[in-house]
Symmetry: C2
Subunit: 501 residues, 2 copies
């Protein structure tokens, strides 16, 4: 490989990463500490830098460089940093270059108007206020899909591939339709069983106490506060401006302590993933994992680990200390059952592990239908409500608790949601492999020894950043392509036992 | 004027401003919320963006554009936005173009490592930990000075001019040597007089109470929290990433409430200045005032206004409410005298108005000596201590309270400090004019009616940003060039009365 060219590539990618870090910090600040009156100038500043990033990312000189280097990596180990950095950046360049900068600017310009319209529509629970904006965004996404191109005949595939290379409607649909009847059956069986009591999670839990517990737990799991922070925001999120600066947020419900704690564990999962990137990959253009792999880590820590019986045994005394007096006499079993209560409900981000999948399938189906013109934007509220009733037996009393609940459609192209469920599934697949390779894992969790578990995930997942596609990383980590079987088996075993099915 | 060219200039300046806002936020975050382990990657990111800003700022196409436009502004009003935007940007371009981007990147790279080293050295009160970093920075500054050029034979002039156009060692030295004997005489006379009792400022004042009072006072003076924040940092500062986002910081001594409050008023002065920029000037390249003009505003609010008898009359009941019980029975006169206690001391930022000037002269002399090779960096601690003894009769017991006390040398080229004293002087000059033009000013202060005062300063100073040089703005605001006479008269009258001289 021409090392001079390779070094030029690395220099260009490093500049992109450093500038990207600036917008990363600006976006974090926007949701955490920015004074409200700064919204307009901040949006302008971020649009300018976003435009610069796109310009730099589609510079024809970069394309020439990448194409030349890509012809020279045949002799290198496929998994090497060098081959991966060339291969992945060339792939991403070819995607990015198909979208003219003015289309990107136009989309984010439309988003700038659509997002506040969504916020107002949600506040007033009136979809009609958001509808014309969403119609415009959907039209723009269809145009983007045409520009990106798709071989399958389905324009939704162009959007899915943008979030996670190789994802198609047919592929996801195959996986989801295998899972769907089993989830429906499990939800039905649970609804017939005796409901779990989660009273232990409710009461009066002041913000400072919840944050202190969150910090203790995140730190114990391996999230580094030397390279991170925990703050408050309206929606919990993780923001990484490098592996050395990865910040997480939560929100607090002072009457229900599990809500914030589980969101902290979720974001700490993302945070650990980003902090444990191989530092050599920072600024290489392959530092960020695909979204499904990313979500597998947050879901692993939140659900597979954080809602396990072994974890509850470790957590209980810490929660008792944090909430002095209010959890006295509670048993591990009571806490475990409370944290795994299944209850069909309206809001995705508050859904339990079992019903969560149905929220995602609903969105996936509607996105595909809207992008393909089978469902009109104007009909989304009715279509949403009908599916909620069919899948979960609950009907939103208004649009705020239905079709307007998520911010996603107001700010990004469709195609994001399915990665949430694919991530949940892959978390279960990783858990199976981990138990085979590390038989003592449960005992370690019970003892609060999380280093070995996190080190295993770092080796299999975290350190690789975006070097590999989702199927590639699944093969390397588990020996199998992504599959739904471990997920279904995991849910059946766990909830069968909790609900005595 | 060729309006197409002028619009291209404005577009280029806007991009520079938006990218500059990103580094502004990164620098603020670095000192307020950044996790410690992020120091290295943040330094790298800021160096990259600093380099990009410099590259964009010295783009030959920009130079061609500015030179052409500068030939076309002869017919425009000198004070118009258009003429000023062309004139000032052309002047600044000619300065910036002399420094190659790699030198700027290298300097900020070194700063990224030097600043944490300074913080550690100060915490451990060990100059040797900072010395190699400062030596490197000084070498780089001497190199920068050679690149910038100076006609006087003194490389320090190149650095001074960079902070405030037209400043030279000879010019400042002339002003300072006129002031120095008068300050020395006043300090001596005060030392012979009966000392003022400032016991009312000492006691137990928890952080939250002090921050609440700081917020009340800053808000009353006209600092907008809709466009700002007040946070804690090691060294108080103001950071503006636009007029719409201007953040101030303070530090708290829980045994001495005046320290934080006066620093909040000082930074609020800077903050009001930045918030009240004419919005048309944001992103024009002339939004930032010179440092002396900038410091005149912080000093005006902190000292001329904030330490006046009239202000104490308004402040006292607010302080009594904030520190419930601890200031009962205190009189306005007692508070006024306490806030104007003169006592030679070690720390510049805690110095009273009278001795403050000597702290600046010391730094000004040492900077000039170090840049000219007359004093070695290694000898700074002894030189510092010797001058402290000579000028103020006090000797630092350690480096933390001596040469390591200020952050400046760890993060910027030398030449900044003298603007502090020039600003103090100009604050007194503005006060003279204000009293002539607005005879009711004192009564307004006593009544807590600060709107008119701040509006007057906005009209004379704030809104103009960097359109004018220090002498130009002094002429426009007061009818005179900058002069030290009002300053000396102000100090003599005020402290003559307080100390019964």
């Amino acid at each position: 490989m021409d090392m001079q060219k390779y070094n030029e590539l690395k220099m260009r990618m490093a500049r992109l990463a450093d500038l990207g870090a600036a917008t990363g910090l600006m976006a974090w600040d926007q949701q955490v500490f920015m004074p409200p009156g700064a919204a307009e100038t901040r949006a302008r500043q971020m649009a300018t830098i976003g435009g610069m990033l796109h310009e730099m990312g589609i510079d024809p000189a970069l394309g020439t460089l990448l194409e030349a280097l890509n012809g020279q990596i045949g002799d290198l180990d496929y998994d090497s940093d060098e081959a991966s950095i060339v291969r992945v950046n060339w792939r991403d360049y070819q995607k990015a270059v198909r979208i003219p900068p003015e289309k990107v600017a136009a989309f984010f310009g439309a988003v700038g108007i659509a997002r506040p319209a969504w916020a107002e529509a949600r506040a007033k629970s009136d979809f009609s206020l958001f509808q014309p904006h969403l119609e415009r965004l959907v039209d723009m996404q269809i145009e983007l899909a045409e520009l990106i191109g798709y071989e399958s005949g389905n324009p939704y595939d162009a959007l899915l591939d943008f979030y996670e290379t190789g994802l198609t409607y047919e592929l996801i649909s195959g996986v989801f339709s295998a899972v769907k009847p089993q989830l429906v059956e499990l939800i039905h069986a649970i609804s017939q069983a005796r409901q779990v009591d989660d009273g232990v999670l409710h009461g009066s839990f002041p913000q400072d106490e919840q944050l202190a517990l969150g910090r203790t737990v995140a730190g114990a799991l391996g999230y580094s506060f030397n390279h991170g922070r925990l703050d408050l925001s309206v929606h919990p999120f993780t923001s990484a401006s490098s592996h050395a600066d990865v910040r997480i947020t939560t929100r607090i419900d002072e009457t229900f302590w599990a809500s914030s704690l589980m969101s902290v564990i979720h974001e700490a999962g993302h945070g650990i993933h980003a902090q444990r990137l191989d530092p050599n990959l920072y600024g290489s253009g392959v530092s960020a994992p695909g979204l499904s792999v990313g979500e597998s880590q947050s879901r692993f820590y939140e659900n597979v680990l954080g809602r396990s019986r072994a974890f509850c045994a470790w957590l209980l005394p810490r929660a008792q200390e944090a909430f002095r007096g209010r959890l006295d006499g509670v048993s591990v079993e009571t806490l475990y059952r409370a944290l795994n209560r299944v209850q069909p409900s309206l809001i995705r981000v508050e859904a339990d592990e079992v019903t969560y999948g149905m929220h995602i399938m609903l969105r996936f189906e509607l996105e595909n239908a809207v992008i393909n013109g089978q469902v009109k934007v104007a009909d989304l509220p009715q279509e949403w409500d009908a599916r909620m009733e069919q899948y979960l037996g609950v009907v939103p009393p208004d649009d705020a608790q239905g079709v307007l609940q998520d911010i996603h459609w107001s700010q990004s192209p469709m195609g994001y949601f399915p990665t949430y469920l694919l991530g949940s599934m892959f978390a279960a697949q990783l858990w199976d492999t981990m138990q085979v390779e590390r038989p003592g894992t449960r005992a370690e969790i019970e003892a609060g020894q999380f280093e070995g578990i996190t080190a295993w995930l770092t080796d299999k997942i975290h350190r690789h950043g975006g070097k590999f596609t989702f199927p590639e990383i699944a093969e390397r980590a588990t020996g199998h392509p992504p599959t739904s079987e471990p997920y279904i088996a995991y849910l059946r075993a766990k909830y069968g036992e909790v609900y005595g099915l």
